[in-house]
């Protein structure tokens, strides 16, 4: 009983990889404060922009940053996309919104998830706030923030995005 078999042209070889992330001074400092539920960036001594997460330097000015500045967990949407594509191993169910968010008191965006929102009405200038995990689950990770949700506050006009003070947005 000889069955016709297809020629084997490849085999599956899984790789299992664990790696140790060495954060460096600025990121280690940032992550240790995220663990306390605080977002702490660094101010550039030359251009005064506040970086979050801090990188220990301002790449625009080419200088080291050391002054720490706590920023708010309220943010403004700079831009966003709605992700529909399923990606292997992704625990988040599409469609979901990821947004470039600029925290009050900072001058550069980071990306995070937006939820408890109507995907079709998400927009630039929209005000949002962090929804944190329960404190007992906090770790050295930005995932301590589960997602951001819309705030009932007036939009920030385009020209003021990235310039909102840490005290918040007031018209």
């Amino acid at each position: 009983m000889s069955e016709e078999r297809e020629m084997i042209t490849g085999i599956e070889v899984p790789i299992y990889l664990k790696y140790h992330f060495t954060a460096g001074e600025a990121t280690a400092r940032f992550l240790s404060q995220v663990r306390q539920g605080k977002l702490v960036g660094q101010r550039c001594p030359s251009c005064n922009n506040v970086y979050l997460p801090p990188r220990g330097s301002c790449a625009a000015c080419g200088v080291a940053t050391t002054e720490e500045v706590e920023v708010a967990d309220k943010c403004t949407v700079e831009s966003f996309t709605i992700v529909y594509i399923p990606i292997p191993g992704n625990p988040i169910q599409p469609p979901y919104v990821i947004a470039n968010l600029i925290p009050d008191g900072a001058n550069i965006s980071f990306i995070h998830l937006l939820s408890e929102c109507d995907n079709d009405t998400v927009h630039r200038g929209q005000r949002v706030q962090a929804v944190w995990k329960p404190q007992e689950e906090w770790d050295y990770a930005m995932d301590n923030i589960r997602y951001f949700k819309p705030l009932d506050e007036p939009d920030v006009p385009s020209e003021s995005i990235g310039k909102v003070p840490v005290t918040g947005w007031e018209v």
Binding site: A60, E78, T81, I85, P88, I108, H112, M142
Partner: protein, 387 residues
């Protein structure tokens, strides 16, 4: 002053979803042998081999250069690997060219590749880091918000990306090596395709391809030893910038503008739309055509989309400045090779050897690649004229 160098041989595999019939080494050798045949040369005529590919995790095979030495005839010769994310195909060509222009070597074989079917690039690009939430959004998730910002600033109509996607696939249908063969594509079909990363639809995105591209670059003194017309390398430039800094211009990165200004100055290009006969530009998502039209100075800021919509970049509409006649990255995307394919296709045009996607009488062309968070740029200007 650098020595003059030229492309004297080009070899490409047929791009497709999966090449199950060859190993990575076999795939590269296929492109290399074709390039040598095109140049009328053998492995013995080559002084050094320079290869490039995207991150190792894209295939799951680490350090492929180690076992590619024999497949590429590099026994007893220098071999090195270049890596600059998605622009690597372009920067590999430039590293190869610079070794000839400097007089270090007389003839260099350069090969780039990706065998995307062997792993999952989307997964490889979504590895977790503690300083950022793990969002699994891939490259489209990174570029979609930047595209959205371009749309807002320029006020471009929603269907510019749809037009690019259609145009590049019609170009690709003229190129038998292109992965996607969609001669019947229409703007309606692109518009109806599923949204992946709003505003990027399925048909506005590049495919995942297996393939390799190779070139032989020779010193001017040896160009006559190859039978076909050379593509003279008239300008070469690379620029980089950090991914993140306050006030970074993400829609039209400074590194791209500086790189273009440098390469144009070397080649005497003052009006890119007029001085080039065509361009092969790295457009992995449709909207990057109007964005790069502006970044590269083919159109004023905010007006790139008008060239696209007028048909200026379309072969089928007899546009004055056809972009991506080969079908571009939107038709074939073996990531590590994609930049070099742009450079090689620009060279094919000025050699008059581009088959059914030839721009009639093309003398001067731009090859362009970008990579990372639109932070690495590589460009060359090739010409039928020695200058």
């Amino acid at each position: 002053m650098a020595n003059l160098a030229a492309v004297v041989g080009i070899g490409q595999t047929k791009y497709q979803t999966r090449r199950g019939d060859v190993s990575i080494a076999g795939l590269l050798r296929e492109a290399a042998v074709k390039a040598l045949e095109d140049a009328g040369l053998g492995f013995d005529d080559i002084d050094a081999v320079i290869i490039g590919k995207a991150p190792d995790m894209f295939e799951g095979v680490v350090m492929p250069e180690i076992y590619l030495t024999d497949a590429l005839g590099a026994n007893g010769k220098p071999m090195l690997r270049v890596h600059t994310a998605g622009s690597v195909g372009g920067s590999t060509a430039l590293v190869a060219a610079s070794h000839v222009q400097s007089g270090t070597f007389k003839r260099v074989l350069t090969v780039t590749f990706e065998k995307q079917s062997e792993s999952n690039a989307m997964w490889a690009l979504s590895s977790p880091h503690p300083f950022s939430p793990h969002l699994n959004a891939g490259a489209g998730g990174y570029f979609a918000p930047i595209i959205r910002e371009y749309m807002r600033r320029s006020g471009a109509p929603y269907d510019v990306g749809i037009k690019v996607a259609t145009k590049d696939r019609l170009h690709g249908a003229r190129n038998p090596l292109a992965h996607l063969q969609l001669p019947d594509i229409t703007m309606a079909k692109v518009e109806e395709s599923p949204m992946l990363w709003d505003p990027i639809r399925f048909l506005e995105s590049c495919p995942s391809s297996d393939g390799a591209c190779a070139m032989v670059i020779a010193d001017a003194s040896l160009v006559s030893e190859s039978p076909k017309p050379p593509a003279w390398i008239r300008g070469v430039a690379m620029r980089s910038e950090p991914t993140m800094y306050a006030g970074r211009e993400e829609v039209s990165p400074q590194a791209g503008r500086d790189c273009a200004a440098d390469v144009y100055a070397q080649a005497g290009i003052t009006n890119p739309r007029k001085d080039f006969d065509c361009a092969e530009v790295y457009v992995p998502f449709s909207w990057y055509e109007p964005m790069w039209l502006e970044n590269l100075g083919f159109a004023e800021e905010g007006k790139g989309w008008k060239l696209t919509m007028e048909g200026a970049t379309s072969l089928d509409e007899n546009g004055d400045i056809p972009w991506n006649c080969s079908g571009g990255v939107l038709s074939s995307n073996p990531i590590g090779a994609s930049g070099m394919i742009r450079f090689a296709e620009a060279a094919r045009q000025v050699r008059g050897d581009a088959g059914a996607h030839q721009v009639e009488g093309a003398r001067t062309a731009l090859g362009h690649a970008y990579g990372g968070g639109a932070q690495f740029f590589a460009m060359w200007v090739v010409s039928a004229d020695k200058g």
